[in-house]
């Protein structure tokens, strides 16, 4: 059954990656990143079960913590950009572009 979970995790990770590439609303891009993190978590959890040790679940737990912190800071950045530019599109924030 582990390989089934791995395949599902790979498919969802890819969907998240494609979403990051094609979407330009910063919030939706963020949601896609969350989807990718969750897909890796699923792989970790199923590996933990396969190996019979809880380390994989611990890693998934830490991924969740880091993802929560990342969401907080990322959404704050999106809010700040939106305040100054009145837009949440990732194409509009291009001042660092050479």
């Amino acid at each position: 059954m582990t390989d089934h979970y791995l395949v599902l995790s790979a498919i969802l990770f890819t969907i998240g990656a494609v979403g990051v590439l094609i979407r330009r609303n910063a919030i939706v891009v963020f949601m896609c990143v969350e989807l990718m993190l969750n897909a890796t978590n699923l792989a970790f959890v199923s590996f933990a079960r396969m190996h019979g040790s809880l380390d994989g679940q611990i890693i998934a737990f830490f991924v969740m913590v880091v993802a929560a912190a990342e969401v907080v800071v990322g959404l704050a950045i999106i809010m700040t950009i939106f305040r100054s530019r009145k837009s949440s599109s990732v194409d509009d924030a291009n001042l660092l572009k050479y």
Binding site: L8, G16, N41
Partner: protein, 276 residues
């Protein structure tokens, strides 16, 4: 793909649960990247998160299943929805491609990537699934996780606390706004009010009127319309005819309303007599 499943590790009905949730989560994930509205994307993501929680529970990780529901669907997605609400629900993506052929290229890259991963998984020989019976035996899943977190991973755990505090502080600093001018006091506000033309409060909408919609201006005692009674924000948003006017002009309706109100006011005694 060759399914290698140990006899004891397989839960009954697991493959049925897996297939149902796999279809739901993949469909919801595709919907998430394909719908144009951010709110719909967030709801689709909630669906994916819930199915992940069930998959964790099936995978002998009950603690992570609950954390998934509480942290992701509870906290993170609510945060997403709040930000969507602040930034504007109507802020949809524009369909104009800035880089030509970017979507097609992204789709091709995605297909190539998933094929690469799946071929890799197909060639891997996975060991037999041991299951977490032994690991969860001494006090259950939560106890087992706690034992690991506070011994082997205690340093990572401590660093996590620093990360969370930094993230909270960072969010506060980023969203904090300095006041450009000092906050007006009650005294200043009342002085400005005396200086302005109108000291009394503005008439509320619906005064002397038969309509209680907030965007319908009030009638003054002499039957004229008071545009002051409608909030400037609402009156700016008001376009075209109001439904309550039934196609007539506002002046005509105001005259009719005044007539009706006057008719009621003129014979209050008769009404009372009828009632008695």
């Amino acid at each position: 793909m060759t399914g290698v499943v140990a006899a004891g590790a397989h839960q009954t009905g697991e493959s049925a649960i897996f297939w149902v949730l796999a279809v739901i989560s993949v469909a919801a994930a595709l919907g998430m990247i394909l719908t144009r509205k951010a709110v719909h994307s967030a709801l689709m993501l909630a669906t994916v998160m819930f199915s992940f929680a069930v998959l964790y529970a099936v995978n002998e990780a009950p603690f992570l299943a609950f954390v998934q529901v509480i942290v992701y669907t509870g906290a993170v997605l609510m945060l997403f929805l709040f930000v969507v609400m602040i930034i504007g629900v109507s802020s949809t993506d524009s369909l104009v491609e800035t880089i030509k052929g970017q979507r097609v290229a992204a789709a091709l890259v995605g297909i190539g990537f998933v094929v690469l991963l799946l071929v890799g998984f197909g060639h891997a020989t996975l060991p037999k699934t041991t299951g977490l019976k032994d690991a969860n035996a001494n006090g259950g899943n939560v106890m087992g996780l706690a034992r690991l977190i506070f011994t082997k991973y205690v340093f990572a755990f401590e660093v996590t606390s620093a990360l969370l505090i930094t993230a909270a502080l960072g969010a506060m600093v980023l969203t904090h706004r300095e006041r450009l001018r000092p906050k007006p006091t009650q005294k200043q506000l009342s002085k400005e009010r005396i200086k302005s033309d109108r000291v009394a409060p503005l008439p509320p909408p619906g005064t002397y009127a038969r309509h209680n919609a907030v965007d319908m201006p009030a009638l003054l005692p002499d039957g004229t319309i008071s545009e002051l009674s409608v909030s400037p924000v609402i009156s700016r948003r008001r376009t075209g005819e109001h439904e309550d006017l039934h196609g007539a002009s506002p002046e005509v309706v105001a005259r009719q309303d005044t007539k009706t109100v006057k008719a009621v006011i003129d014979k209050p005694v008769e009404v009372e007599e009828e009632e008695q």
